[in-house]
Symmetry: C2
Subunit: 383 residues, 2 copies
């Protein structure tokens, strides 16, 4: 192992789904208490908190955590679009690496059904939201462009949903735990051509958390997960003359930075959790992560390479397409999944022998900007 000085000491999540009977504080409690127990520490042991939320009311993160007993410490709440949770993870890790704190809680939460009452339309890519550019439309346009440039088929896109919904059969915390067929995916109602309903993640209420500390210094070092690297960046102004659709470059740039910092190549990584908010997103992302050539992402998923049992499973948890997408919680749920995988704790959905894993989260963007934020982190089994 090279370079790692920080580790995940413990992780936790709530269940994912429509949970209006539970408020933010209850979801926060579930995720945080599980992460603290997993790390073998108490609420009062936490030195600082970095939290991610997009639509959380001002101060709710702080108050939710204060009610658990995390008081008088710095609490930094970050909004970084869909990458808010992994942005909090990134900042928490850098703070531990700098020696500023010993035990930091990275936390993410979103109670979306309360905010949006089940609708997806308000999650617009502002300021274009006023023109009807909600996120499904943006991804629909990407898919259309992609089809034109590289000939990706409807069946290839549907294969992403079929794979990930199949993976979720082994994930008791996922929102959607029912397998679907290519025919069902393509036959579900059209949301933003060519993206059908089963190709869209649903919104959800959930919280997720990770305790981060110096590598080798927890109560049970053998259960730590080393943080080999973490990269975070915002997008460039999008070049309309490029072959690459919106989001491709920011993911590729961030992944390159994360791989270099970790001293690994994409071929070394055994398991991935990536931002499959819409099926086309996973196709673009697997390419941008370097798992195949530009334009080959559709064929990659069809080949089974990214399925359970394939060489490099992507989204063993079922991904956002199955778990649902509670914005601020998503990134830390991805982190938790890879931590469980690397510790051999993923039961039915375990990727056998996984030693190196990666998480990618993509946040926002408009037609003119190549993404607001992307985070890629490389994690490794200890020992």
């Amino acid at each position: 192992m090279t370079g790692a000085s920080t580790a995940i000491w413990g992780v936790g999540t709530s269940a994912f789904g429509k949970q209006t009977e539970l408020g933010g504080p209850q979801l926060a409690w579930q995720a945080t208490v599980e992460a603290l127990d997993d790390a073998g520490i108490r609420a009062t042991d936490i030195d600082a908190v970095y939290a991610g939320t997009v639509f959380g009311d001002p101060g709710t993160v702080t108050r939710s955590l204060q009610q658990i007993g995390i008081v008088e410490v710095p609490v930094i709440t970050i909004e970084n679009a869909c990458a808010s949770g992994t942005s909090a993870f990134h900042e928490a890790r850098l703070a531990v690496e700098a020696g500023r704190y010993e035990r930091v809680l990275a936390f993410g939460i979103e109670t979306m059904t309360v905010h949006f009452d089940g609708a997806i339309s308000p999650i617009a890519s502002d300021p274009d939201g006023a023109q009807g550019f909600a996120m499904p439309s943006i991804y629909g346009m990407s898919a259309t462009r992609y089809r034109y440039e590289f000939g990706v088929t409807d069946e290839q896109m549907a294969a992403v949903a079929v794979k990930n919904r199949g993976h979720a059969l082994g994930n008791p915390r996922a929102q959607h735990r029912k397998s679907v067929t290519v025919e069902q995916v393509l036959g579900s109602r059209m949301v933003a051509d060519p993206i059908t309903l089963f190709q869209c993640c649903s919104i959800a209420d959930a919280a997720a958390a990770a305790v981060i500390g110096p590598l080798g210094e927890s109560q049970d070092p053998g259960q730590e997960v080393a943080i080999r690297s973490s990269a975070l960046r915002s997008g460039r102004l999008w070049d309309h003359t490029t072959d690459k659709v919106w989001g491709w470059d920011i993911v590729a740039d961030t992944a390159t930075q994360a791989y270099e910092a970790a001293g690994v190549g994409v071929g070394d990584i055994d398991v991935f959790e990536v931002h499959d908010a819409f099926t086309i997103g996973e196709i673009i992302t697997t390419e941008a992560l370097g798992m195949c050539e530009l334009g080959e992402g559709g064929r990659l998923v069809e080949s089974g390479h990214t399925a359970m049992g394939g060489a490099q499973p992507v989204n063993p948890s079922g991904g956002l397409l199955s778990r649902g997408h509670p914005l601020g919680a998503t990134g830390l749920a991805q982190i938790a999944e890879i931590a469980w995988q690397l510790r051999g704790m993923a039961s039915e959905r375990q990727v056998p022998g996984a030693r190196l894993g990666a998480v990618e989260t993509m946040g926002g963007g408009t037609a003119g900007i190549d993404g607001n934020a992307c985070v890629v982190t490389v994690l490794e089994q200890v020992g």
Copy 2:
């Protein structure tokens, strides 16, 4: 000078007030370009951004800055109630101190008249907002309790507004630039007994920014302002049996931490910008900062100690009561004011010979929690 390894290289702000004709990107441009020019660097020199906003739509900070040419770098947007701007400053400074970045933009913005159409009621102290505990009510209850415990008078509270509105006569960027008398303050309409209208800050649209880098490494080191220390913490569960009203302890704890880290005593500090969102707030804060004993804050302002020409002027800019309170921008506007004071650039409102300054920002809280966040930073003239 002891301990400082980081410095403010440049500062900038927009004007403050109702500026609906200007959008967020325009206000961001004004503040950021002024700060970059002041620091003698270009947009593309910035390595990372820490931004503060409370009600900004997801992604707007990132997009505003991308349009200035700050692209492809980490952008971390922080919500920490009214202390969001100084929280961004705090995190930016820690990142430079850790050697992670060389030139970081700390940035704050809020376009409140667009969000709230001039009303103050939505700025509730959630979850109590549902019960009518908007911020003026919380401060009104503090004032009532304070009057009972320590006998602070209406005239002493009014004296804060008279002082700060008087100071603002020298601040061309303040929203309210008209002096008021004690009679006018007490005769203005009642908002939340005993807090009258002229004792409340108004909402505003504005942006503010600071460039932070290693001490002594800017193009013009003599114009830097050294960051001696910065402390940030969340509140404790409020002890209802204490003499101290809501917010007192968190300010005192944070200030103690900042003074110790800077190796200074409160008596060493020549000029302060503090969180006078309501008149009673400045009275409580000056006490909690250690400028006088518990219960003596009313007499302190009456004595002239905190006025221009007094021993330790507080809020030479006119404070929130005159500048207005664009939540995310406020903390960085306070930082900018102290930077100008320490560099002798505050023209009509210059505190003569100011060498050491402090900024305090208080964020949120409810009846049950002693504040969501407080930031105190100690700044020093270089050379």
